[in-house]
Subunit: 320 residues, 2 copies
Protein backbone atom coordinates (compact mmCIF):
# COMPACT_ATOMS: atom_id res chain seq x y z
CA UNK A 1 0.00 0.00 0.00
CA UNK A 2 1.32 3.42 -0.97
CA UNK A 3 0.06 6.11 1.36
CA UNK A 4 -1.06 9.31 -0.35
CA UNK A 5 -0.16 12.26 1.85
CA UNK A 6 -1.25 15.88 2.03
CA UNK A 7 0.49 18.56 4.07
CA UNK A 8 -1.21 21.61 5.60
CA UNK A 9 1.26 24.38 6.40
CA UNK A 10 4.75 24.90 5.05
CA UNK A 11 6.91 26.10 7.93
CA UNK A 12 9.86 24.10 9.30
CA UNK A 13 7.63 21.17 10.22
CA UNK A 14 5.79 21.01 6.90
CA UNK A 15 9.08 21.19 5.00
CA UNK A 16 10.50 18.39 7.15
CA UNK A 17 7.45 16.23 6.44
CA UNK A 18 7.70 16.96 2.71
CA UNK A 19 11.34 15.84 2.67
CA UNK A 20 10.47 12.57 4.44
CA UNK A 21 7.43 11.78 2.30
CA UNK A 22 9.60 12.20 -0.79
CA UNK A 23 12.35 10.00 0.71
CA UNK A 24 10.16 7.09 1.86
CA UNK A 25 9.07 4.30 -0.50
CA UNK A 26 5.69 3.72 1.11
CA UNK A 27 4.44 7.33 0.82
CA UNK A 28 3.64 9.59 -2.07
CA UNK A 29 2.96 13.32 -1.81
CA UNK A 30 -0.33 14.59 -3.20
CA UNK A 31 0.36 18.23 -2.43
CA UNK A 32 0.76 21.04 0.04
CA UNK A 33 -2.15 23.14 1.28
CA UNK A 34 -1.26 26.70 2.16
CA UNK A 35 -2.71 30.16 2.60
CA UNK A 36 0.16 31.47 0.49
CA UNK A 37 -0.22 31.32 -3.30
CA UNK A 38 3.33 30.34 -4.09
CA UNK A 39 5.77 28.25 -2.10
CA UNK A 40 9.39 27.40 -2.75
CA UNK A 41 8.70 23.72 -3.51
CA UNK A 42 8.41 21.32 -6.46
CA UNK A 43 5.22 19.89 -4.97
CA UNK A 44 1.73 20.81 -6.10
CA UNK A 45 0.35 23.65 -4.00
CA UNK A 46 -3.37 24.12 -3.29
CA UNK A 47 -5.32 26.82 -1.47
CA UNK A 48 -6.03 25.52 2.02
CA UNK A 49 -9.73 26.49 1.74
CA UNK A 50 -10.11 24.05 -1.18
CA UNK A 51 -8.74 21.07 0.75
CA UNK A 52 -12.06 19.25 1.13
CA UNK A 53 -12.32 18.90 -2.67
CA UNK A 54 -9.43 16.45 -2.52
CA UNK A 55 -10.69 14.28 0.29
CA UNK A 56 -10.74 11.15 -1.88
CA UNK A 57 -7.19 11.69 -3.12
CA UNK A 58 -5.49 11.75 0.27
CA UNK A 59 -5.01 8.91 2.76
CA UNK A 60 -3.53 11.02 5.52
CA UNK A 61 -3.33 14.78 6.04
CA UNK A 62 -0.35 16.10 8.01
CA UNK A 63 -1.49 19.12 10.03
CA UNK A 64 1.76 21.12 10.16
CA UNK A 65 0.23 24.27 11.63
CA UNK A 66 0.81 26.03 14.94
CA UNK A 67 -0.19 24.41 18.21
CA UNK A 68 -1.10 27.60 20.02
CA UNK A 69 -4.18 28.60 18.01
CA UNK A 70 -4.22 26.88 14.60
CA UNK A 71 -4.73 23.33 15.86
CA UNK A 72 -7.55 24.22 18.28
CA UNK A 73 -9.20 26.34 15.54
CA UNK A 74 -8.70 24.19 12.48
CA UNK A 75 -7.94 20.56 13.30
CA UNK A 76 -11.52 19.35 13.69
CA UNK A 77 -12.36 20.91 10.32
CA UNK A 78 -9.78 18.69 8.68
CA UNK A 79 -10.87 15.62 10.69
CA UNK A 80 -14.28 16.00 9.06
CA UNK A 81 -12.80 15.22 5.64
CA UNK A 82 -9.48 13.48 6.27
CA UNK A 83 -7.58 11.00 8.36
CA UNK A 84 -5.15 13.32 10.13
CA UNK A 85 -2.01 13.44 12.22
CA UNK A 86 -0.89 16.43 14.30
CA UNK A 87 1.79 17.51 16.77
CA UNK A 88 -0.44 19.40 19.20
CA UNK A 89 1.93 19.99 22.10
CA UNK A 90 -0.07 21.64 24.85
CA UNK A 91 0.40 18.84 27.42
CA UNK A 92 -2.38 20.01 29.70
CA UNK A 93 -4.96 20.02 26.89
CA UNK A 94 -4.17 16.76 25.09
CA UNK A 95 -7.23 15.06 26.62
CA UNK A 96 -9.47 17.93 25.45
CA UNK A 97 -7.97 17.92 21.96
CA UNK A 98 -8.30 14.14 21.67
CA UNK A 99 -11.95 14.33 22.73
CA UNK A 100 -12.77 17.03 20.15
CA UNK A 101 -10.99 15.14 17.37
CA UNK A 102 -12.55 11.82 18.42
CA UNK A 103 -16.07 13.14 18.06
CA UNK A 104 -15.53 14.51 14.56
CA UNK A 105 -13.27 11.74 13.26
CA UNK A 106 -15.60 9.01 14.45
CA UNK A 107 -18.70 10.70 13.02
CA UNK A 108 -16.98 10.93 9.63
CA UNK A 109 -15.30 7.52 9.69
CA UNK A 110 -11.81 9.00 9.81
CA UNK A 111 -8.83 8.40 12.08
CA UNK A 112 -7.01 11.21 13.91
CA UNK A 113 -3.66 10.51 15.57
CA UNK A 114 -3.05 13.42 17.91
CA UNK A 115 -0.10 14.97 19.75
CA UNK A 116 2.67 13.07 17.98
CA UNK A 117 6.28 14.26 17.78
CA UNK A 118 8.74 13.62 20.58
CA UNK A 119 7.40 15.49 23.63
CA UNK A 120 4.51 14.90 23.68
CA UNK A 121 4.99 11.78 21.58
CA UNK A 122 7.93 9.42 21.94
CA UNK A 123 8.70 10.77 25.42
CA UNK A 124 5.07 10.22 26.48
CA UNK A 125 5.26 6.59 25.36
CA UNK A 126 8.46 6.08 27.29
CA UNK A 127 7.14 7.81 30.42
CA UNK A 128 4.14 5.46 30.43
CA UNK A 129 6.32 2.43 29.71
CA UNK A 130 8.78 3.29 32.49
CA UNK A 131 6.05 3.93 35.05
CA UNK A 132 4.42 0.59 34.14
CA UNK A 133 7.44 -1.51 35.06
CA UNK A 134 7.92 -0.98 38.79
CA UNK A 135 5.87 -0.96 42.00
CA UNK A 136 7.43 2.36 43.03
CA UNK A 137 8.99 3.93 39.95
CA UNK A 138 11.06 7.11 40.13
CA UNK A 139 10.99 9.08 36.88
CA UNK A 140 12.72 12.19 35.59
CA UNK A 141 12.55 13.88 32.20
CA UNK A 142 15.56 15.96 31.17
CA UNK A 143 15.52 18.27 28.17
CA UNK A 144 18.49 19.28 26.05
CA UNK A 145 21.00 20.03 24.88
CA UNK A 146 18.38 22.26 23.35
CA UNK A 147 18.11 25.67 21.82
CA UNK A 148 15.54 27.69 23.75
CA UNK A 149 13.88 30.36 21.64
CA UNK A 150 12.34 32.19 24.59
CA UNK A 151 15.59 32.40 26.54
CA UNK A 152 17.55 33.40 23.44
CA UNK A 153 15.09 36.24 22.91
CA UNK A 154 15.55 37.26 26.55
CA UNK A 155 19.34 37.54 26.36
CA UNK A 156 19.08 39.53 23.14
CA UNK A 157 17.10 42.16 25.06
CA UNK A 158 20.12 42.92 27.26
CA UNK A 159 21.77 46.17 26.25
CA UNK A 160 25.00 45.73 24.27
CA UNK A 161 24.20 42.16 23.11
CA UNK A 162 24.77 41.98 19.35
CA UNK A 163 23.97 38.31 18.93
CA UNK A 164 22.94 35.78 21.52
CA UNK A 165 21.71 32.24 21.87
CA UNK A 166 20.77 30.07 24.84
CA UNK A 167 20.94 26.30 25.26
CA UNK A 168 19.33 24.33 28.07
CA UNK A 169 21.38 21.31 29.06
CA UNK A 170 20.69 18.56 31.57
CA UNK A 171 22.96 18.80 34.62
CA UNK A 172 25.27 15.76 34.49
CA UNK A 173 25.15 15.19 38.25
CA UNK A 174 21.34 15.19 38.11
CA UNK A 175 21.36 12.62 35.28
CA UNK A 176 23.76 10.42 37.24
CA UNK A 177 21.52 10.74 40.30
CA UNK A 178 18.43 9.75 38.27
CA UNK A 179 20.16 6.73 36.71
CA UNK A 180 21.30 5.52 40.13
CA UNK A 181 17.72 5.56 41.40
CA UNK A 182 18.01 8.79 43.37
CA UNK A 183 16.05 11.16 41.12
CA UNK A 184 13.10 11.56 43.49
CA UNK A 185 12.46 15.22 44.21
CA UNK A 186 14.93 16.60 41.66
CA UNK A 187 13.49 19.93 40.56
CA UNK A 188 13.56 21.14 36.98
CA UNK A 189 15.92 23.88 38.15
CA UNK A 190 18.41 21.46 39.73
CA UNK A 191 18.19 19.14 36.75
CA UNK A 192 19.07 21.71 34.09
CA UNK A 193 21.85 24.22 33.44
CA UNK A 194 21.79 27.11 30.99
CA UNK A 195 24.60 28.01 28.62
CA UNK A 196 24.59 31.32 26.80
CA UNK A 197 26.76 32.41 23.84
CA UNK A 198 27.00 36.15 23.30
CA UNK A 199 28.63 38.45 20.76
CA UNK A 200 29.34 41.86 22.37
CA UNK A 201 32.06 44.48 22.85
CA UNK A 202 34.65 43.46 25.44
CA UNK A 203 33.92 46.50 27.59
CA UNK A 204 30.34 45.28 28.14
CA UNK A 205 31.10 41.63 29.02
CA UNK A 206 31.04 41.84 32.81
CA UNK A 207 27.86 43.87 32.94
CA UNK A 208 26.09 41.67 30.37
CA UNK A 209 27.06 38.47 32.20
CA UNK A 210 25.76 39.91 35.47
CA UNK A 211 22.48 41.06 33.92
CA UNK A 212 21.89 37.65 32.36
CA UNK A 213 22.69 35.40 35.32
CA UNK A 214 20.57 37.54 37.64
CA UNK A 215 17.52 37.74 35.35
CA UNK A 216 14.60 36.52 37.53
CA UNK A 217 12.80 33.29 36.55
CA UNK A 218 14.66 33.04 33.23
CA UNK A 219 18.17 32.54 34.62
CA UNK A 220 18.46 33.42 38.29
CA UNK A 221 17.43 30.03 39.74
CA UNK A 222 19.64 28.09 37.28
CA UNK A 223 23.34 27.39 37.04
CA UNK A 224 24.06 29.69 34.09
CA UNK A 225 27.32 30.00 32.14
CA UNK A 226 27.84 32.91 29.74
CA UNK A 227 30.47 32.59 26.98
CA UNK A 228 31.54 35.54 24.87
CA UNK A 229 32.51 34.55 21.36
CA UNK A 230 33.36 36.22 18.05
CA UNK A 231 30.86 36.97 15.31
CA UNK A 232 32.61 34.30 13.19
CA UNK A 233 32.25 31.61 15.83
CA UNK A 234 28.61 32.55 16.28
CA UNK A 235 27.98 32.22 12.55
CA UNK A 236 29.82 28.90 12.36
CA UNK A 237 28.61 27.10 15.49
CA UNK A 238 25.26 28.51 16.52
CA UNK A 239 22.91 28.47 13.53
CA UNK A 240 21.27 25.11 14.25
CA UNK A 241 18.28 24.14 16.33
CA UNK A 242 19.56 21.15 18.33
CA UNK A 243 17.43 19.46 20.93
CA UNK A 244 16.93 16.17 22.73
CA UNK A 245 16.66 14.81 26.21
CA UNK A 246 16.26 11.80 28.43
CA UNK A 247 13.37 10.00 30.09
CA UNK A 248 14.93 8.06 32.97
CA UNK A 249 12.91 5.67 35.13
CA UNK A 250 14.30 3.53 37.89
CA UNK A 251 12.82 0.95 40.18
CA UNK A 252 14.04 -1.09 43.08
CA UNK A 253 13.43 -4.81 42.53
CA UNK A 254 14.18 -6.81 45.66
CA UNK A 255 17.11 -4.56 46.50
CA UNK A 256 18.43 -4.33 42.93
CA UNK A 257 18.28 -1.08 40.95
CA UNK A 258 16.98 -1.18 37.38
CA UNK A 259 17.39 1.87 35.17
CA UNK A 260 15.38 2.34 31.96
CA UNK A 261 16.31 5.27 29.74
CA UNK A 262 15.09 6.70 26.45
CA UNK A 263 17.34 9.38 24.96
CA UNK A 264 17.27 11.65 21.95
CA UNK A 265 20.19 13.65 20.60
CA UNK A 266 18.97 15.75 17.69
CA UNK A 267 20.99 18.10 15.54
CA UNK A 268 17.70 19.53 14.25
CA UNK A 269 14.57 19.66 16.39
CA UNK A 270 11.89 20.34 13.72
CA UNK A 271 13.30 17.68 11.36
CA UNK A 272 12.98 15.00 14.00
CA UNK A 273 9.51 16.11 15.08
CA UNK A 274 8.61 15.63 11.41
CA UNK A 275 10.15 12.14 11.43
CA UNK A 276 8.08 11.06 14.43
CA UNK A 277 4.97 12.65 12.88
CA UNK A 278 5.44 10.76 9.62
CA UNK A 279 5.75 7.40 11.44
CA UNK A 280 2.46 8.11 13.24
CA UNK A 281 0.96 9.31 9.95
CA UNK A 282 1.73 5.85 8.58
CA UNK A 283 -0.04 4.34 11.58
CA UNK A 284 -3.05 6.65 11.03
CA UNK A 285 -3.42 5.52 7.41
CA UNK A 286 -3.16 1.87 8.45
CA UNK A 287 -5.66 2.19 11.30
CA UNK A 288 -8.08 3.72 8.80
CA UNK A 289 -7.35 0.91 6.31
CA UNK A 290 -8.10 -1.60 9.11
CA UNK A 291 -11.56 -0.05 9.37
CA UNK A 292 -10.99 1.85 12.59
CA UNK A 293 -12.14 5.38 13.29
CA UNK A 294 -11.83 8.04 15.98
CA UNK A 295 -8.89 9.69 17.72
CA UNK A 296 -5.78 7.94 18.99
CA UNK A 297 -2.95 9.27 21.11
CA UNK A 298 0.52 7.75 20.72
CA UNK A 299 -0.32 5.59 23.76
CA UNK A 300 -3.05 3.85 21.80
CA UNK A 301 -1.08 2.89 18.70
CA UNK A 302 0.44 -0.61 18.62
CA UNK A 303 4.14 -0.14 17.69
CA UNK A 304 4.09 -2.39 14.60
CA UNK A 305 1.80 0.11 12.84
CA UNK A 306 4.66 2.63 12.81
CA UNK A 307 6.85 0.40 10.68
CA UNK A 308 7.08 0.42 6.88
CA UNK A 309 7.30 -3.38 7.17
CA UNK A 310 4.27 -5.59 7.64
CA UNK A 311 3.74 -7.39 10.94
CA UNK A 312 4.51 -10.72 9.23
CA UNK A 313 7.81 -9.42 7.91
CA UNK A 314 8.71 -7.96 11.31
CA UNK A 315 7.96 -11.26 13.06
CA UNK A 316 10.13 -13.19 10.62
CA UNK A 317 13.01 -10.72 10.87
CA UNK A 318 15.79 -10.47 13.40
CA UNK A 319 14.15 -7.30 14.75
CA UNK A 320 11.92 -8.90 17.33
CA UNK B 1 -10.13 -4.20 38.30
CA UNK B 2 -7.85 -6.45 40.35
CA UNK B 3 -6.05 -8.97 38.18
CA UNK B 4 -5.89 -12.48 39.61
CA UNK B 5 -2.56 -14.04 38.67
CA UNK B 6 -1.21 -17.57 38.58
CA UNK B 7 2.46 -18.47 38.16
CA UNK B 8 3.75 -21.64 36.53
CA UNK B 9 7.33 -22.43 37.56
CA UNK B 10 9.27 -21.16 40.54
CA UNK B 11 12.82 -20.47 39.37
CA UNK B 12 14.38 -16.99 39.36
CA UNK B 13 11.74 -15.66 36.96
CA UNK B 14 8.75 -17.09 38.84
CA UNK B 15 10.09 -15.75 42.13
CA UNK B 16 10.58 -12.32 40.55
CA UNK B 17 7.00 -12.33 39.26
CA UNK B 18 5.69 -13.42 42.67
CA UNK B 19 7.48 -10.50 44.35
CA UNK B 20 5.99 -8.01 41.87
CA UNK B 21 2.45 -9.40 42.03
CA UNK B 22 2.59 -9.06 45.81
CA UNK B 23 3.94 -5.49 45.55
CA UNK B 24 1.47 -4.14 43.00
CA UNK B 25 -1.97 -2.85 43.97
CA UNK B 26 -3.74 -3.98 40.81
CA UNK B 27 -2.72 -7.65 41.05
CA UNK B 28 -3.45 -10.43 43.48
CA UNK B 29 -1.73 -13.79 43.53
CA UNK B 30 -3.93 -16.88 43.27
CA UNK B 31 -1.09 -19.35 43.57
CA UNK B 32 1.97 -21.03 42.12
CA UNK B 33 1.80 -24.14 39.97
CA UNK B 34 4.78 -26.42 40.26
CA UNK B 35 5.94 -29.97 39.74
CA UNK B 36 7.50 -29.81 43.19
CA UNK B 37 5.26 -30.53 46.18
CA UNK B 38 6.69 -27.90 48.48
CA UNK B 39 8.19 -24.53 47.67
CA UNK B 40 9.82 -21.96 49.91
CA UNK B 41 6.96 -19.45 49.62
CA UNK B 42 3.96 -18.13 51.56
CA UNK B 43 1.80 -18.47 48.45
CA UNK B 44 -0.61 -21.33 47.80
CA UNK B 45 1.10 -24.06 45.78
CA UNK B 46 -0.78 -26.37 43.40
CA UNK B 47 0.34 -29.33 41.31
CA UNK B 48 0.89 -28.09 37.79
CA UNK B 49 -1.17 -30.96 36.32
CA UNK B 50 -4.24 -29.68 38.20
CA UNK B 51 -4.00 -26.15 36.76
CA UNK B 52 -7.03 -26.43 34.46
CA UNK B 53 -9.29 -26.91 37.50
CA UNK B 54 -8.63 -23.29 38.43
CA UNK B 55 -9.26 -21.74 35.05
CA UNK B 56 -12.11 -19.58 36.35
CA UNK B 57 -10.06 -18.27 39.28
CA UNK B 58 -7.20 -16.82 37.27
CA UNK B 59 -7.19 -13.81 34.92
CA UNK B 60 -3.65 -14.28 33.66
CA UNK B 61 -1.19 -17.14 33.96
CA UNK B 62 2.51 -16.25 34.00
CA UNK B 63 4.42 -19.02 32.23
CA UNK B 64 7.77 -18.85 34.06
CA UNK B 65 9.20 -22.03 32.58
CA UNK B 66 12.22 -22.59 30.36
CA UNK B 67 12.31 -21.26 26.80
CA UNK B 68 14.37 -24.09 25.36
CA UNK B 69 11.86 -26.93 25.66
CA UNK B 70 9.16 -26.11 28.27
CA UNK B 71 7.50 -23.28 26.34
CA UNK B 72 7.33 -25.15 23.01
CA UNK B 73 6.03 -28.26 24.86
CA UNK B 74 3.64 -26.73 27.35
CA UNK B 75 2.55 -23.20 26.43
CA UNK B 76 -0.30 -24.12 24.09
CA UNK B 77 -1.68 -26.42 26.79
CA UNK B 78 -2.00 -23.44 29.12
CA UNK B 79 -3.43 -21.20 26.35
CA UNK B 80 -6.31 -23.66 26.09
CA UNK B 81 -7.46 -22.77 29.61
CA UNK B 82 -5.89 -19.42 30.46
CA UNK B 83 -4.94 -16.00 29.22
CA UNK B 84 -1.15 -16.27 29.31
CA UNK B 85 2.07 -14.29 29.13
CA UNK B 86 5.50 -15.78 28.44
CA UNK B 87 9.13 -14.78 27.88
CA UNK B 88 9.90 -17.15 25.01
CA UNK B 89 13.26 -15.86 23.84
CA UNK B 90 14.23 -17.85 20.77
CA UNK B 91 14.28 -14.87 18.37
CA UNK B 92 14.21 -16.98 15.21
CA UNK B 93 11.09 -18.88 16.31
CA UNK B 94 8.91 -16.06 17.68
CA UNK B 95 6.69 -16.12 14.56
CA UNK B 96 6.20 -19.88 14.90
CA UNK B 97 5.44 -19.62 18.63
CA UNK B 98 3.01 -16.76 18.07
CA UNK B 99 1.19 -18.76 15.37
CA UNK B 100 0.85 -21.84 17.61
CA UNK B 101 -0.40 -19.75 20.54
CA UNK B 102 -2.74 -17.73 18.32
CA UNK B 103 -4.55 -20.81 17.07
CA UNK B 104 -5.20 -22.22 20.55
CA UNK B 105 -5.87 -18.92 22.31
CA UNK B 106 -8.33 -17.78 19.66
CA UNK B 107 -10.18 -21.10 19.62
CA UNK B 108 -10.59 -20.89 23.40
CA UNK B 109 -11.34 -17.19 23.64
CA UNK B 110 -8.13 -16.44 25.53
CA UNK B 111 -5.33 -13.93 25.00
CA UNK B 112 -1.65 -14.94 24.83
CA UNK B 113 1.03 -12.25 24.97
CA UNK B 114 4.22 -13.90 23.78
CA UNK B 115 7.97 -13.24 23.98
CA UNK B 116 7.87 -10.45 26.54
CA UNK B 117 10.85 -9.48 28.72
CA UNK B 118 13.53 -7.14 27.48
CA UNK B 119 15.19 -8.90 24.53
CA UNK B 120 12.98 -10.01 22.95
CA UNK B 121 10.53 -7.54 24.44
CA UNK B 122 11.35 -3.92 25.21
CA UNK B 123 14.37 -4.02 22.89
CA UNK B 124 12.18 -5.41 20.07
CA UNK B 125 9.72 -2.51 20.50
CA UNK B 126 12.55 -0.01 20.38
CA UNK B 127 14.21 -1.62 17.37
CA UNK B 128 10.92 -1.37 15.46
CA UNK B 129 10.34 2.20 16.66
CA UNK B 130 13.85 3.31 15.67
CA UNK B 131 13.66 1.72 12.23
CA UNK B 132 10.28 3.40 11.63
CA UNK B 133 11.60 6.93 12.02
CA UNK B 134 14.09 7.38 9.19
CA UNK B 135 14.34 6.76 5.44
CA UNK B 136 17.74 5.06 5.90
CA UNK B 137 18.10 4.15 9.57
CA UNK B 138 21.31 2.71 10.99
CA UNK B 139 20.73 0.53 14.03
CA UNK B 140 22.94 -1.27 16.50
CA UNK B 141 22.06 -3.31 19.58
CA UNK B 142 24.70 -3.53 22.32
CA UNK B 143 24.43 -5.93 25.24
CA UNK B 144 25.92 -5.47 28.68
CA UNK B 145 27.38 -4.90 31.08
CA UNK B 146 26.13 -8.43 31.44
CA UNK B 147 27.11 -11.61 33.20
CA UNK B 148 27.52 -14.35 30.60
CA UNK B 149 26.87 -17.80 32.02
CA UNK B 150 28.38 -19.64 29.05
CA UNK B 151 31.61 -17.63 29.08
CA UNK B 152 31.90 -17.89 32.86
CA UNK B 153 31.60 -21.67 32.55
CA UNK B 154 34.32 -21.62 29.87
CA UNK B 155 36.85 -19.74 32.01
CA UNK B 156 36.17 -22.05 34.93
CA UNK B 157 37.33 -24.99 32.76
CA UNK B 158 40.85 -23.51 32.54
CA UNK B 159 43.27 -25.40 34.79
CA UNK B 160 44.14 -23.59 38.00
CA UNK B 161 41.03 -21.34 37.99
CA UNK B 162 39.41 -21.52 41.43
CA UNK B 163 36.61 -19.06 40.76
CA UNK B 164 35.80 -17.17 37.61
CA UNK B 165 33.18 -14.91 36.08
CA UNK B 166 32.85 -13.17 32.73
CA UNK B 167 31.06 -9.95 31.81
CA UNK B 168 30.32 -8.77 28.30
CA UNK B 169 30.46 -4.99 27.95
CA UNK B 170 29.74 -2.73 25.01
CA UNK B 171 32.94 -1.16 23.61
CA UNK B 172 32.71 2.58 24.37
CA UNK B 173 34.21 3.60 21.01
CA UNK B 174 31.62 1.47 19.23
CA UNK B 175 28.77 3.10 21.20
CA UNK B 176 30.15 6.55 20.36
CA UNK B 177 30.38 5.55 16.70
CA UNK B 178 26.76 4.31 16.70
CA UNK B 179 25.46 7.48 18.39
CA UNK B 180 27.28 9.66 15.85
CA UNK B 181 25.54 7.86 12.98
CA UNK B 182 28.52 5.69 12.01
CA UNK B 183 27.38 2.32 13.33
CA UNK B 184 26.84 0.75 9.91
CA UNK B 185 28.79 -2.48 9.59
CA UNK B 186 29.92 -2.65 13.24
CA UNK B 187 30.27 -6.35 14.02
CA UNK B 188 29.19 -7.89 17.30
CA UNK B 189 32.89 -8.61 17.95
CA UNK B 190 33.96 -4.99 17.44
CA UNK B 191 31.04 -3.73 19.48
CA UNK B 192 31.71 -5.75 22.62
CA UNK B 193 34.61 -6.36 24.99
CA UNK B 194 34.96 -9.14 27.54
CA UNK B 195 36.10 -8.71 31.13
CA UNK B 196 37.04 -11.70 33.23
CA UNK B 197 37.59 -11.88 36.99
CA UNK B 198 39.58 -14.89 38.23
CA UNK B 199 40.67 -16.24 41.58
CA UNK B 200 43.86 -18.33 41.17
CA UNK B 201 47.36 -18.85 42.59
CA UNK B 202 49.79 -16.12 41.52
CA UNK B 203 52.10 -18.63 39.84
CA UNK B 204 49.35 -19.55 37.37
CA UNK B 205 48.26 -16.02 36.40
CA UNK B 206 50.24 -15.57 33.17
CA UNK B 207 49.35 -18.99 31.79
CA UNK B 208 45.64 -18.62 32.71
CA UNK B 209 45.42 -15.19 31.09
CA UNK B 210 47.01 -16.51 27.93
CA UNK B 211 44.73 -19.57 27.78
CA UNK B 212 41.63 -17.40 28.22
CA UNK B 213 42.38 -14.62 25.74
CA UNK B 214 43.36 -17.15 23.06
CA UNK B 215 40.31 -19.40 23.50
CA UNK B 216 38.82 -19.66 19.97
CA UNK B 217 35.31 -18.22 19.36
CA UNK B 218 34.73 -17.55 23.06
CA UNK B 219 37.46 -14.94 23.56
CA UNK B 220 39.99 -14.89 20.76
CA UNK B 221 38.15 -12.45 18.43
CA UNK B 222 37.27 -10.06 21.29
CA UNK B 223 39.19 -7.48 23.25
CA UNK B 224 39.46 -9.43 26.52
CA UNK B 225 40.78 -8.20 29.86
CA UNK B 226 41.56 -10.66 32.66
CA UNK B 227 41.71 -9.41 36.25
CA UNK B 228 43.01 -11.56 39.08
CA UNK B 229 41.31 -10.83 42.37
CA UNK B 230 41.14 -12.26 45.87
CA UNK B 231 38.55 -14.74 47.06
CA UNK B 232 37.13 -11.98 49.28
CA UNK B 233 36.71 -9.54 46.42
CA UNK B 234 35.08 -12.25 44.35
CA UNK B 235 32.59 -12.99 47.13
CA UNK B 236 31.85 -9.32 47.67
CA UNK B 237 31.61 -7.99 44.11
CA UNK B 238 30.71 -10.81 41.75
CA UNK B 239 27.66 -12.61 43.09
CA UNK B 240 25.04 -10.69 41.08
CA UNK B 241 23.57 -11.18 37.63
CA UNK B 242 23.75 -7.71 36.10
CA UNK B 243 22.73 -7.07 32.52
CA UNK B 244 21.47 -4.37 30.21
CA UNK B 245 22.30 -2.81 26.89
CA UNK B 246 21.48 -0.20 24.31
CA UNK B 247 19.40 -0.04 21.15
CA UNK B 248 20.82 2.88 19.16
CA UNK B 249 19.25 4.08 15.92
CA UNK B 250 20.39 7.06 13.92
CA UNK B 251 19.13 8.73 10.80
CA UNK B 252 20.25 11.55 8.61
CA UNK B 253 17.53 14.16 8.15
CA UNK B 254 18.50 16.73 5.53
CA UNK B 255 22.12 16.64 6.68
CA UNK B 256 21.32 16.58 10.41
CA UNK B 257 22.02 13.52 12.55
CA UNK B 258 19.31 12.30 14.90
CA UNK B 259 20.15 9.66 17.49
CA UNK B 260 17.45 7.65 19.29
CA UNK B 261 18.57 5.39 22.12
CA UNK B 262 16.89 3.01 24.54
CA UNK B 263 19.11 1.79 27.38
CA UNK B 264 18.81 -0.60 30.28
CA UNK B 265 21.18 -0.85 33.23
CA UNK B 266 20.06 -3.72 35.44
CA UNK B 267 21.63 -4.90 38.66
CA UNK B 268 19.58 -8.09 38.34
CA UNK B 269 18.64 -9.55 34.98
CA UNK B 270 15.90 -12.04 36.00
CA UNK B 271 14.19 -9.48 38.27
CA UNK B 272 13.81 -7.02 35.42
CA UNK B 273 12.65 -9.66 32.95
CA UNK B 274 9.94 -10.38 35.52
CA UNK B 275 9.05 -6.67 35.70
CA UNK B 276 8.58 -6.44 31.94
CA UNK B 277 6.62 -9.69 31.95
CA UNK B 278 4.25 -8.43 34.64
CA UNK B 279 3.51 -5.22 32.69
CA UNK B 280 2.61 -7.30 29.63
CA UNK B 281 0.63 -9.67 31.86
CA UNK B 282 -1.45 -6.64 32.86
CA UNK B 283 -1.97 -5.88 29.16
CA UNK B 284 -2.97 -9.50 28.49
CA UNK B 285 -5.66 -9.39 31.19
CA UNK B 286 -6.97 -6.09 29.82
CA UNK B 287 -7.03 -7.25 26.21
CA UNK B 288 -9.05 -10.25 27.36
CA UNK B 289 -11.37 -7.96 29.38
CA UNK B 290 -11.85 -5.86 26.21
CA UNK B 291 -13.17 -8.98 24.51
CA UNK B 292 -10.12 -9.68 22.39
CA UNK B 293 -8.60 -13.10 21.79
CA UNK B 294 -5.57 -14.66 20.12
CA UNK B 295 -1.82 -14.10 20.39
CA UNK B 296 -0.08 -10.74 20.59
CA UNK B 297 3.61 -9.93 20.44
CA UNK B 298 4.89 -6.84 22.25
CA UNK B 299 4.66 -5.03 18.89
CA UNK B 300 0.89 -5.43 18.88
CA UNK B 301 0.13 -4.07 22.36
CA UNK B 302 -0.84 -0.37 22.61
CA UNK B 303 1.42 1.10 25.33
CA UNK B 304 -1.41 2.40 27.55
CA UNK B 305 -2.43 -1.19 28.31
CA UNK B 306 0.85 -1.69 30.19
CA UNK B 307 0.01 0.99 32.73
CA UNK B 308 -1.72 0.47 36.06
CA UNK B 309 -3.54 3.75 35.31
CA UNK B 310 -6.54 3.96 33.01
CA UNK B 311 -6.23 5.70 29.65
CA UNK B 312 -8.42 8.55 30.93
CA UNK B 313 -6.16 9.08 33.93
CA UNK B 314 -3.04 8.96 31.74
CA UNK B 315 -4.49 11.53 29.34
CA UNK B 316 -5.33 13.90 32.17
CA UNK B 317 -1.91 13.52 33.84
CA UNK B 318 1.35 15.26 33.10
CA UNK B 319 2.67 12.00 31.67
CA UNK B 320 1.58 12.51 28.08
Amino acid sequence: MTIKAGIVGYGNLGQGVEYLINSLDDFELFGIFSRRETLDTDADVYPVEDAAKYKDDIDVMFLCVGSATDIPDQATGFAEHFTTVDTYDNHSKVAEHRAAMHKVAQANDNVAVVSTGWDPGLFSMNRVLGLSLFPEPVQNTFWGKGLSQGHSDAVRQVQGVKRGVQYTIPAQDAIDQARAGNGQGLSKTQAHDRIVYIVADAADHDRIREEIVSMPAYFEPYDTTVHFISEEEFERDHQGAPHGGHVITTGNLQGHNASVEFSLDLESNPNFTAAAMVAFGRAAARLKAQGQSGAFTVLEVPPYLLSPQSLDDLLKSEII
